[in-house]
């Protein structure tokens, strides 16, 4: 986000921490999507793998609002 200051006057006393435009926006925009791929090496002896994917919102550390929890069991020997 732009800031009105040129960073050359006395408002600079607050330093870059207050120029919040330097923070990367990681929010999700309307109709936007966030995709992530996780690749895991599994033990050779494993016959089955249980996976759990949790999505939650944490406005502050420890303050958790659960959103989704997906649990799946996958057979390793079927492939």
């Amino acid at each position: 986000m732009p800031q009105s200051t040129t960073s050359l006057n006395k408002t600079m006393v607050y330093g870059p921490t207050k120029k919040l435009g330097i923070i990367r926006d990681t929010s999700i925009q309307p109709f936007g999507a966030k995709e992530e791929t996780f690749q895991v090496r599994v033990s050779e002896s494993a016959k089955k793998v249980n996976i759990r994917v949790d999505l939650s919102y944490q406005p502050r550390p420890g303050d958790v609002y659960p959103i989704h929890s997906v649990i799946r069991t996958l057979a390793m020997d079927s492939h």
């Binding site: 986000m1 732009p2 800031q3 009105s4 200051t5 408002t11 607050y14 207050k18 919040l20 435009g21 926006d25 929010s27 999700i28 925009q29 309307p30 109709f31 936007g32 999507a33 966030k34 995709e35 992530e36 791929t37 996780f38 690749q39 895991v40 090496r41 599994v42 033990s43 050779e44 494993a46 793998v49 996976i51 994917v53 999505l55 919102y57 406005p59 502050r60 609002y65 659960p66 959103i67 989704h68 997906v70 799946r72 996958l74 057979a75 390793m76 079927s78 492939h79």
Partner: protein, 317 residues
């Protein structure tokens, strides 16, 4: 004696004003003839009109005065259900949240001595307590004292109440009219001592109504710009151009619900709302890889996709 002196002083001021007035009329008559007098009269009428149009032209000099100026407790008498909904909302405790509380006590614009505070120390109040616009710097000092003294009872009275939306923010341009409320419909005879009429506001059901505070990002008009809510910017620049057609009110004030969910204290409801707004797909793939000849390694791939159905970026405010 003191009273007589004041009276004499007042008479002197009135005499002086009369003299200036007569001088100005004569001067205008001399320069512009009767047209000059007409111009002067028009200026006077305009001045009277301006002073009558403002809802709260006079600035409150004490916090008690300001709270009384925007007192909306009488609304409760007839709009009991709506008032009860509002009382549970975040609007009813707009400077009480953890962030605001700490920011006002320890933020970059906080003060150690309440007497040093002016309105410039409270840029956040542009939205969190917009009534401050109608107060003097002395009131800002009183607010600083309440914050530093952790006077929760006083802080709770500083909120976004009925009059902020239905008077101050209800107009499209300019200042609200004196004694006028703004709503979705007009009411010619509104039963209230101070607000006797209700005018239909064209913005009351439109997103811009909320966008006045749930805004566009940095507030650049201040000496020290503050970054704040970017929600309306996201609505305007991402949601609408991508085909979004709902208003803020359709999701956050359904059936005129003045509790304006989500209420972050109702954790289950917030989770359910987020679940609806952010559907998640999970795809899995199991395969065997052979990086080294003869050595088969089982691999697992988990792909997640979150899509936003909300009308603004998440998270935002």
């Amino acid at each position: 004696m003191k009273g007589r002196a004041t009276q004499r002083s007042n008479h002197r001021i009135i005499r002086r004003l009369r003299a200036i007035w007569t001088h100005q009329i004569l001067r205008l008559q001399k320069v512009h003839g009767f047209r000059g007098i007409l111009i002067m009269s028009m200026v006077c009428v305009f001045c009277i009109f301006i002073s009558a149009a403002g809802a709260s032209d006079q600035k409150a000099r004490t916090l008690t005065e300001l709270i009384a100026m925007f007192d909306s407790s009488s609304c409760k008498e007839c709009h009991e259900e709506i008032h009860a909904q509002w009382e549970t909302s975040h609007h009813a405790r707009s400077i009480m949240g953890i962030f605001m509380d700490r920011y006002l006590q320890r933020g970059v614009l906080s003060v150690k001595n309440p007497d040093d505070a002016t309105k410039k120390n409270f840029p956040c109040f542009k939205c969190h307590f917009p009534q401050l616009e109608y107060a003097t710097d002395e009131v800002a000092s009183e607010i600083a004292a309440a914050i530093l003294g952790k006077d929760k009872a006083t802080m709770k009275k500083l909120n976004i109440n009925c009059l902020v939306c239905h008077n101050q923010k209800g107009v499209v341009h300019g200042r609200p009219e004196r004694g006028m409320l703004y709503g979705t419909n007009s009411v010619s005879e509104h039963e209230d001592k101070r607000y006797k009429r209700v005018k239909a506001s064209p913005i009351m059901k439109r997103p811009v109504m909320c966008g006045q505070c749930h805004g566009l990002g940095p507030n650049l008009e201040f000496e020290h710009p503050v970054q704040c809510a970017t929600l309306y910017g996201s609505y305007l620049h991402a949601y609408v151009p991508s085909g979004g057609a709902k208003t803020c009110q359709e999701c956050h004030m359904k059936d005129a619900d003045h509790s304006c969910p989500p209420d972050f204290n109702k954790r289950g409801e917030v989770s359910a709302r987020l679940k609806k707004a952010l559907p998640m797909e999970v795809d899995t793939l199991v395969y065997k890889s052979q990086f080294t000849p003869g050595k088969i390694i089982p691999m697992l791939v988990v792909k997640t996709k979150i899509t936003s159905k909300a009308g603004h970026r998440i998270p935002d405010g």
